[in-house]
């Protein structure tokens, strides 16, 4: 098989020495992690490598020799390097040498116990050590859920990324250390660290503790028995603001928990939640400052009552139109008047209640507007709840109309079965034939005729109020869609993909470098970053809302039969 040597590009200019890394025998590839320079004592090198192997669980060993000769090739040096092969016995012993005047390196292998004596081909692949170490290789999306993945048959690339990532401790010693071993790797010029990151790490511990304490207080209050009594608990479950606040509370608890993130996914999730919260609160404070500047919230409160009045007036006009001859259809006058007057009285009651509340509206709105500092999503949820409260009478009308229509449809279908001499068998859940008496048939036919001729009127009222209700539902749905988008967008991952695209790797790409006859093939391995769509799909945050499970046909069927529709249900709510 072809021998593949993965060489870090930072070691290209290193002094001569021996190569240290991992040998993956089933793929015949050698991943070089560092170069150990002369002078060294072989026993100490072996001890050091055993230490590293114990800590990182990566089988690091001496793989070969590296000679970077600035002068002409020295015979004694090459013999010395071959002799090293006998001290550190490794099969095959790789010898890479770089001459001063040529870009192409020569690489040869020494096999002592091999069956076929012919020279096997060598491919030299350069890789950027720092980028490969920091990068996380994502499996293709379809195969992500294979939990019984044995570490032995990890794919070749995954093995390489894994090796470099786990060998962090090897990269901690730099050339200014006074140890017995002198290494060259990407950090050998000095370990880098950032003061800001260190300061934040120190500051985050007390901040997390404070946050945990506050959150435990808040969740203790929320869970107290006082708030669980029936009217209040019903109210909390209906208001979307409470859902959103609970969701954000959960997020805060996740961020401020003491446990460290176990793996990459959890770390990214924590980071995404943190950035999303930060942006949310920032936008919320911006909105708040815009609302409270020039007392815009006062103006808003002032226009709220006239808007409610206007909506009520429009509804009254609509009902007057229905009570007349709407769209040229002829209604049953008596039923029309009854229904129309009933709804008009309902609107009158609603308007009276609104006017009763009008002196307090401004104050309530002012305090409610303050809660926009908790986040833009909370402000949007409050808006959606205000719309729901203001259009409550439309919801009531829809329910009345739907129930009436539903009753009528069921009555009609049952009496239609009577017409044909059949009956619904509740025990067997099917239609059976039945012989009726003459008076039963007479009354049944009478009722059927009455219901049938009153059907257009009820149907029209039902249609009008259903359309209005659907309009309100669509507006609320759009707001919730926006809130959902803001909740689930993985902003930190997108920023990472934009600025440090090598951290999220979908794969690698190879580029063929200059070739020379007789010298091994040289390739440059670069990281192929994940596409934005896959980033969003992999790192999406889970949200609490679920999209309507009803397909279009079942929705239409429900509307036709007059059953009540609840298009946007939240997860965890009991189904009606």
């Amino acid at each position: 098989m072809v021998l593949k040597v993965f060489f870090p590009s930072c070691c290209s200019s290193a002094e001569s020495g021996i190569l240290v890394g991992r040998w993956i025998s089933n793929q015949s590839s050698a991943v070089i992690l560092a170069v150990v320079h002369f002078p060294f004592i072989p026993v100490q090198v072996k001890q050091y490598l055993n230490e590293v192997q114990r800590v990182t669980k990566v089988s690091v060993s001496v793989l070969g020799s590296w000679s970077n000769s600035k002068q002409e090739k020295e015979e004694s040096l090459s013999e010395f390097l071959e002799d090293l092969g006998t001290i550190f016995s490794h099969e095959p012993w790789i010898q890479i040498s770089k001459e001063r005047d040529s870009k192409c390196w020569s690489c040869s292998t020494l096999q002592k116990h091999s069956n076929n004596p012919k020279e096997e081909e060598v491919i030299l692949v350069y890789y950027d050590q720092r980028k490969v170490m920091l990068s996380h290789l994502h499996p293709p999306l379809g195969t992500a859920a294979s939990t019984e993945h044995r570490p032995d048959d990890a794919t070749q690339l995954a093995a390489i990324f894994d090796t470099v990532a786990k060998s962090k401790i090897l990269f901690m010693t730099d050339r200014y250390d006074d140890g017995p071993i002198k290494l060259t790797h990407w950090q050998s010029d000095g370990v880098e660290a950032s003061i800001i990151v260190e300061l934040m790490k120190q500051a985050s511990v007390p901040a997390c503790m404070l946050l945990t304490f506050l959150l435990s207080l808040i969740s203790g209050i929320c869970r107290s028995r006082v708030l669980k009594f029936w009217p209040l608990s019903f109210l909390w479950s209906k208001l979307s603001t409470c859902e959103q606040l609970g969701h954000r509370l959960q997020h805060l608890q996740l961020i401020s928990s003491r446990k460290k993130a176990q793996n990459q996914t959890q770390l990214m999730r924590k980071a995404n939640i943190f950035v999303s919260l930060l942006l949310d609160v920032a936008l919320g404070i911006l909105l708040m400052s815009w609302l409270y500047r020039k007392n815009r919230i006062g103006h808003l409160a002032d226009t709220l009552i006239p808007v409610a009045d206007h909506v009520a007036e429009e509804l009254q006009d609509l009902l007057q139109w229905l009570m007349g001859a709407p769209a040229g259809l002829k209604m049953n006058r008596a039923l029309d008047q009854v229904l129309g007057r009933f709804f008009l009285y309902h609107i009158h009651l609603w308007i009276s209640y609104i006017h009763l509340m009008s002196p307090f509206i401004e104050m309530i709105l002012w305090y409610v507007g303050l809660s926009a500092c908790l986040g833009l999503t909370v402000a949007l949820c409050i808006l959606s709840d205000i719309i729901a409260l203001l259009t409550f009478h439309i919801y009531c009308f829809y329910v009345y109309g739907a129930r009436l229509y539903c009753l009528k449809i069921y009555g009609l279908s049952s009496l239609w079965r009577l017409f044909r001499g059949k009956k619904w068998n509740v025990l067997r859940q099917r239609v059976d034939s039945c012989s009726y008496d003459l008076d039963q048939l007479f009354i049944g036919t009478l009722l059927f005729t009455i219901l049938l001729f009153l059907l257009p009127t009820t149907a029209l009222y039902y249609l009008v109020f259903t359309l209005l209700r659907l309009l309100v539902v669509i507006v609320q749905g759009l707001i919730h869609l926006l809130v959902d988008l803001m909740n689930s967008m993985p902003l930190y991952s997108l920023l990472l993909r934009l600025c440090r695209s090598y951290r999220l790797a979908a794969g690698v790409k190879f580029r063929v470098l200059e070739q020379q006859d007789g010298k091994p093939l040289r390739l440059l391995m670069q990281i192929n970053p994940l596409s934005y769509g896959s980033v969003v799909q992999t790192y999406r945050l889970p949200t609490y809302s679920c999209y309507p499970k009803d397909s279009w046909t079942s929705l239409c069927k429900k509307l036709f039969l007059g059953e009540l529709v609840y298009p946007w249900k939240h997860k965890g709510e009991k189904q009606d």
Binding site: M1, V2, K4, S25, N26, S28, N116, E121, I123, V125, T143, S146, T155, Q156, L157, G507, V508, K509, F510, V512, Q515, P520, L521, L523, N528
Partner: protein, 186 residues
């Protein structure tokens, strides 16, 4: 070495083979360039329509909107749609790399490891009203040694004809054969 062939729709394409080493080959198919006459035809059609709208509505925003739309459309077309060259880099015992370079210089690359590649074959497909040949890579199903988990079609924008595909197929198979004959080291 560059040879001329024709694509499935009759356009002129060129195939270039380079052998970097005994186990590494690069095969690149170059697609026909963007024609000046089609570009000018589309531009003049859009501008005539915009001018007609302007004559009807007397709103000069229509003209600036048309120019804007043309520019944005051209940039989107060059960056996301128009493929300049599609190449295949086969490295024995490492993998196969498929690259598409767009007219704006963007390159989109996919690398498939040799362990996942089952075979490279020429398949037939029904495309619109024609039956065309295309080259594809069959990926191994990890659970089933005889099964194929995915089919990756190659050269989708240039769609070379059978003679060109046979050349590419022969080159690939020479390298792929070696991995079967090479002794597996335990």
């Amino acid at each position: 070495e560059e040879r001329r062939y024709r694509s499935a729709s009759g356009a002129a394409i060129a195939l270039q083979c380079r052998q970097h080493s005994a186990s590494c080959r690069e095969l690149a198919v170059r697609c026909p360039r963007l024609q000046l006459r089609s570009l000018s035809a589309v531009t003049s059609a859009v501008w005539l329509a915009a001018y007609g709208l302007y004559a009807v509505s007397e709103n000069s925003m229509v003209l600036s909107a048309a120019i804007f739309i043309m520019l944005i459309g051209l940039i989107i077309y060059l960056h996301f749609v128009k493929v300049d060259q599609e190449s295949l880099l086969v490295i024995g015992s490492l993998g196969i790399q498929v690259t598409s370079s767009y007219a704006s210089g963007k390159e989109s690359t996919t690398f498939i490891e040799m362990g996942q590649v089952k075979d490279v074959v020429i398949n037939e497909a029904i495309h619109m009203q024609k039956v065309i040949y295309y080259l594809c890579i069959l990926l191994q199903d990890p659970r089933d040694p005889q099964g194929v988990s995915e089919v990756v079609p190659l050269f989708q924008s240039s769609k070379p004809r059978l003679d060109c595909l046979i050349e590419v197929y022969k080159s690939c198979q020479e390298i792929l054969e070696r991995r079967k004959t090479a002794p597996q080291s335990s």
